[in-house]
Symmetry: C2
Subunit: 309 residues, 2 copies
């Protein structure tokens, strides 16, 4: 058995996972990100003890998914956004506490790995996972290996310019995909359209979320339909760019927008096909591991890496 840990800004989630990707036990605790790294790692060790005690299985290895930039070979988190991990030797520290070998990877890469090995991209040689959340993340898996490139920096699916000189992005650049296709961007687009269209059913909605335009589009609201259609076009452009260079078997779309299922997928496939060079031979699907992708991916990645050591 293997343990996957998804180290998030809000919660640390961990699970005992078998080689088929089934989660046998899982538990999460608040990250309380303002603490010292040592304290957070001590809680990760307790969490591991708890789920091991609950299941009684022997654990071969632990996989840790961290936000931000990691040095996977060295087992070091270089920096992790809001978390207090700056050049922290997390693998060695957790190995010492838990007595189990640890491997580390970026969390988005591990969620992509989970979808590749036993999720929506299962059975594919090459898959690209794009997660549309508050920001946009994702990962590329080629022949069963997480693709990390040859130099430091990691795969940044969201920071890919689709509109030269376009919308300002959180990264400081302009025109990035994230600035058009994150949930944050969709909410901004919806608010702008709703405020300009007094005939729209969304005009007086005060509590607009990323689900709002989909809900109202389904009710026939023209303004909501236009917002959804334009949003799908942005996502389609990025997916076509991924297809034109990676030619993956599968592109997996994750994040809250996935709940739309075929209402999203059917027009998204149609729009993407228009931008793909020559014919499209790639399937576009929604993620199916949900919030567990990080745990499952981390555990199965640990299983893979331990075998290869």
């Amino acid at each position: 058995m293997f343990i996957g840990i998804d180290l998030g800004g809000t919660n640390i989630a961990a699970g005992v996972v078998d080689l088929n990707g089934n989660i046998l036990h899982k538990k999460s605790v608040p990250t309380l990100a303002s603490r010292l790294a040592d304290e957070i790692i001590a809680d990760m060790a307790s969490l591991v003890d708890d789920i091991v005690a609950a299941g009684g299985q022997s654990i071969t290895a632990i996989g840790i998914g961290s936000p931000g930039s990691v040095d996977a070979n060295a087992g070091i988190i270089a920096y992790a956004g809001n978390l207090p991990f700056n050049n922290v030797d997390i693998c060695k520290m957790l190995e010492t506490s838990a007595g189990i070998p640890c491997v580390l990877e970026n969390d988005a890469n591990l969620a992509a790995y989970g979808e590749h090995v036993c999720g929506a991209a299962s059975g594919s040689d090459v898959s690209v996972t794009i997660t549309l959340g508050t920001g946009v993340g994702g990962g590329v898996v080629i022949d069963g290996n997480v693709y990390n490139g040859a130099v430091f920096g990691g795969v940044e699916i969201g920071h890919h310019i689709i509109a030269v000189g376009g919308e300002a992005c959180s990264c400081g650049s302009y025109g990035c995909f994230e600035a058009y296709a994150s949930a944050t961007a969709l909410i901004r687009q919806t608010k702008a359209a709703a405020s300009l269209n007094s005939c729209s059913l969304m005009h007086n909605i005060s509590n607009i979320t990323a689900k709002t335009p989909f809900d109202f589009a389904k009710q026939g609201d023209l303004c909501a339909r236009q917002v959804v259609s334009q949003y799908i076009k942005y996502v389609a452009v990025r997916i076509a760019n991924v297809i034109n260079i990676f030619r993956p078997n599968v592109v997996v779309v994750g994040g809250g927008v996935c709940a739309q299922g075929d209402y999203l997928l059917n027009p998204l496939r149609e729009a993407t096909e228009k931008f793909v060079f020559d014919k499209m031979h790639t399937n576009i699907v929604v993620a199916n591991l949900g919030n567990d992708a990080g745990i499952v991916g981390a555990a199965l990645y640990a299983a893979k890496m331990i075998r290869e050591l």
Copy 2:
């Protein structure tokens, strides 16, 4: 020794190449592309005979670089633009005529492979070559392997949207990199700027080429400088997109524009750095095999593939 053949729309160029990428003999003949595929292949066989006879070396394998879409495993050219090769079993046909094992790949991939193995990206683990010619081509080499993806279609560096809803592209889509950064696009941009700016030294030039804006920018012409600067920005966006997802050691820029050397590279590096997520650890260089990249890449690729068979 190995033979590399670069099958072009105008000429068929072939060379005998050693394992260090040195061309020992080379020769080219006109393709005369309106002929039947059989006739063109017969000329390729004669060309092989000629260069073998000239050098007297024993040839282990032949690599063929073809435009368009190829099925490398099967040795079949699926289609090749203006050339009359539609599902032509070129490897088997040339093997029969020349009596030497043949391997096939897309020409842009082989030029990228040549630069990777013994050109401007020599010594790198991951390199991406972008060739800015009449169109835009290129290839990706990962750990010494030409990256081709998991499904049919090939890597299309040029057909990657950098401006949603932007300029019409030759592929039928809109906003592709090729529509902004090919030599054709640069000429169009220069003509447009020159015609609008009566103060520009380029205003009355009738014979504008892709070299014109660089020539006049060096003379201090403001309009030419603006054209060059905007063109470099487009190229920088594409290179940053490549870096943000492939994190290659090296991006190689090829095509006629390379002749500008540091006049292109210095501002290109500076512009790219602004669009790269986090820090840039990738070197940007100009191609150094020139027109021979196809021959060298094809020959060395044949050497690699024959060893692996």
